[in-house]
């Protein structure tokens, strides 16, 4: 299973990679903003995306809307400091499947990843 991590912070991508590794997911590709992520998705499809909101060049919401124009199925988890209900609703409307607020513990991130993947498998 291939997972795309989209966050402008390399520190956060490393923390996410470590969590994914403990869950047994080691096939990870990375992007530092929405534009890089879209370019990555042209190269190869992925099975799950973890996407930050606030990033330079193209933010996560814009990127997700563009992804959903052609791909309604690939699960997307938004991982962001944006915690207001209005933001969460905006993200759900844009097409995210799950939402993790920073700061997060490894347990929380693991739980959301497992939850999201279980729903994706059940839907197929």
């Amino acid at each position: 299973m291939k997972i795309l991590l989209v966050d402008d912070s390399r520190t956060i991508r490393n923390i996410q990679k470590n969590t994914l590794k403990t869950l047994g997911y080691e096939d990870v590709v990375e992007a530092a903003d929405g534009l890089e992520a879209l370019a990555q998705l042209v190269k190869e499809p992925v099975d799950l995306m973890l996407v930050d909101w606030n990033m330079p060049n193209m933010d996560g919401i814009t990127m997700i809307k563009k992804v959903r124009e052609t791909d309604e199925d690939t699960p997307i988890i938004m991982v962001t400091t944006e915690a207001e209900k209005t933001r969460i609703l905006e993200a759900v409307k844009a097409g995210v499947n799950n939402y993790v607020v920073k700061p997060f513990s490894m347990d929380t991130l693991s739980e959301k990843i497992n939850q999201t993947m279980a729903k994706a498998v059940a839907a197929t």
């Binding site: 402008d8 912070s9 390399r10 520190t11 956060i12 490393n14 923390i15 470590n18 606030n54 990033m55 330079p56 962001t80 400091t81 944006e82 915690a83 207001e84 209005t86 607020v101 920073k102 700061p103 997060f104 513990s105």
Partner: protein, 167 residues
């Protein structure tokens, strides 16, 4: 400064440090920053715009900043490591983002973080929005959270104004 904008930062710094660094924070009594009297060696800065405008600064002595950045990243980070500003910027981002969710009734956006590294630098405040300094004691050392915010009842469209600048 309106206490509505201070308490969320006290909660946020505790939440971020406990969750990401597994360390508790002992918050001291907030004090008004006297112009040019409080210098730092490392500062993480985030601007806020919208219904609440201004900025938030996490300021550290360099040794404390290295300890905190290393604990956060899970690897040893020195001041000149390319990942050092990234870690400090992301921590600042988490504190600001976590605090703004508690600005009841306010629609506020945060900027991408900036990080200043250099001994004895000063982050200065505007005259209309002085910094309130929240001293924080942690097991990794002492840091300051500096908050300079003003509420704006009718936010101007696309308003993004920074009140901080490194001197």
């Amino acid at each position: 400064m309106d206490v509505r904008f201070i308490n969320p930062f006290i909660l946020a710094i505790n939440n971020v440090f406990e969750t990401m660094l597994n360390t508790k924070v002992k918050v001291g009594k907030p004090l008004l920053k006297k112009a040019d009297r409080l210098t730092a060696e490392v500062s993480g800065i985030i601007g806020l715009s919208g219904d609440v405008q201004g900025c938030v600064v996490l300021s550290f002595p360099d040794e404390v900043a290295c300890r905190i950045a290393s604990a956060f990243a899970g690897e040893e980070l020195a001041l000149d490591s390319p990942d050092f500003p990234d870690a400090i910027g992301e921590l600042t981002n988490m504190v600001a983002g976590n605090a703004k969710k508690d600005f009841t009734g306010c629609e506020t956006s945060i900027s991408l973080p900036s990080v200043i590294i250099g001994p004895g630098h000063i982050v200065s405040q505007s005259k209309t929005s002085p910094f309130l300094v929240i001293p924080c004691e942690t097991s990794l050392g002492r840091i300051n959270v500096e908050v300079a915010l003003i509420p704006v009842k009718k936010p101007a469209s696309k308003a993004t104004r920074s009140v901080a600048g490194a001197v």
